[in-house]
Amino acid sequence: MAIRWPLFIRRTHKWLALFVGVQAAIWAASGMYMVAVHIDYIHGDHLVRTPEMTGQDLSGLVPPADVAARDAGTREVKLQQLLGKPVWKVSSEQGAYIVDARSGERIPELDKSLAVEIASSLYTGEPEIVSARLLDEAPQEMGSRKPPFWRIQFEGWNEPTFYISPTTGELIGRRHNLWRIFDIAWMLHIMDYDERSDVNNPLLRVATWSVVAMALAGAWLLYWSFPRRKKKKKVKAVA
């Protein structure tokens, strides 16, 4: 028996669509969101003030070699600013910390008021604080970053939130509601509903190849979907 190709392909397209159609719609919708909202905005570039590059006279500072000499595991000693004051950021095998570059004294972990002050000085909007908490466990939105951090949330429709390292005073994350929606869109796009990061999960692999088959069958169907002139007349006559 000869296969009736148009029927066979239409059935394939239809049945594949029945199983992955919802996911195809979710891909289209989540993809649309991700392309429509600019990634720099998602990253929260607009929330953070870029500090001016100012020259720093090194003669009044404790030499970085002296700072490094105190800790045998030191990998790098780098000049940074902490609320306008010069500090040495030490990256060591034991972790990172900061040292007052003028006195040479190690700066203890930041308390709440200092963390809030740093966050406010970096924020481009009106720094009205909604909450400030020290987290020992990373929330979903900080994913792979290593806690602890100060979570400082500002007033605003998109709930802008800064994460400040208590050990170095650095801004290590910025989140807002459009970022959070993006993260959900990404989760739906890669179909990893737990970690939101595994792009090689079996569910995604099966779904993507099914949609490839559906799309190719759909493309094939187009061949029969545009009747040639002769056929068209016939249809019109019936109508």
Binding site: L18, A25, P63, E76, R205, A215
Partner: protein, 245 residues
């Protein structure tokens, strides 16, 4: 069946016939990109993210060797940025003054030239290469593989299975990135996916927004048409009923 639908169509324009037509025409115009999106998406899901790499940081720099006293920094004057670290076998200062970045030996304060040999040592330490070096090139600015990094850059090709290329900054001697064949395949399909055929970086350009909007139509009209395309008897095999006719 066809007759019936056509008669209904006279009453209202918004029947599934209209949606089927929209689905068909949008499919004709944007179908190729839909196919490319699904194929490139499927390939990206298939390529092992570990092998693709690109997100993992290079191995951490070695601890600073403290056997010799580093020179005083006071004589370096005013700088915008300074960092004290280990570069291969010696401690160095990496400093930026008047917008220009350079590396000086921490003991003598003499400029350090990042030559081929030093770049190779850095690349081997940072990316764990053990195979032979095939070729070394100096790039004045980043190529497509090292995009996002400032030049000049050393490109070092190694004779491993992945045909790895490591990139090391010729200004600071820092390891930048390592690319292999899996990454190259991934990057090609990623280009097909994000439709930025020149720079391969942006997915927020007008072309993709336009096509994505069209595809949203394709997906949604298609989803709606599913309800019009199936008849109850097609589910008999699940419902356990006998085939009629």
């Amino acid at each position: 069946m066809k007759m019936e639908s056509s008669i209904k169509a006279r009453k209202s324009v918004f029947t599934h016939i209209l949606w089927r037509k929209i689905h068909k025409w949008v499919g004709l115009i944007l179908g190729l990109q839909f196919v490319l999106w699904s194929i490139s998406g499927a390939v990206m899901a298939l390529l092992d993210a570990e092998k693709v790499g690109g997100h993992a940081a290079p191995a951490p720099a070695p601890a600073i060797s403290m056997d010799e006293t580093a020179g005083p920094v006071g004589s370096l004057g005013s700088v915008e940025a300074i960092s004290f670290r280990q570069l291969a076998d010696r401690p160095v200062y990496e400093l930026t003054a008047q917008g220009e970045t350079k590396v000086v030996d921490a003991r003598t304060l003499e400029p350090v030239e990042i030559d081929k040999g030093l770049a190779e040592r850095v690349a081997r330490e940072a990316f764990g290469h053990e195979t032979a070096l095939v070729s070394v090139d100096r790039l004045e600015k980043a190529n497509l593989e090292a995009r996002g990094h400032g030049g000049p850059i050393w490109r070092l090709d190694f004779a491993d299975e992945e045909n790895s290329s490591s990139y090391v900054s010729a200004t600071t001697g820092r390891p930048l990135v390592n690319r292999g064949d899996t990454w190259r395949t991934f990057d090609f399909v990623w280009m097909l996916h994000n439709m930025d055929y020149v720079n391969r970086t942006s997915f927020n350009h007008p072309l993709i927004i336009f096509v994505a909007f069209g595809t949203l139509w394709l997906a949604f009209t298609g989803f709606y048409l599913l309800f019009k395309s199936f008849r109850r008897r097609e589910f008999n095999w699940i419902l356990g009923r006998k085939r009629t006719r």
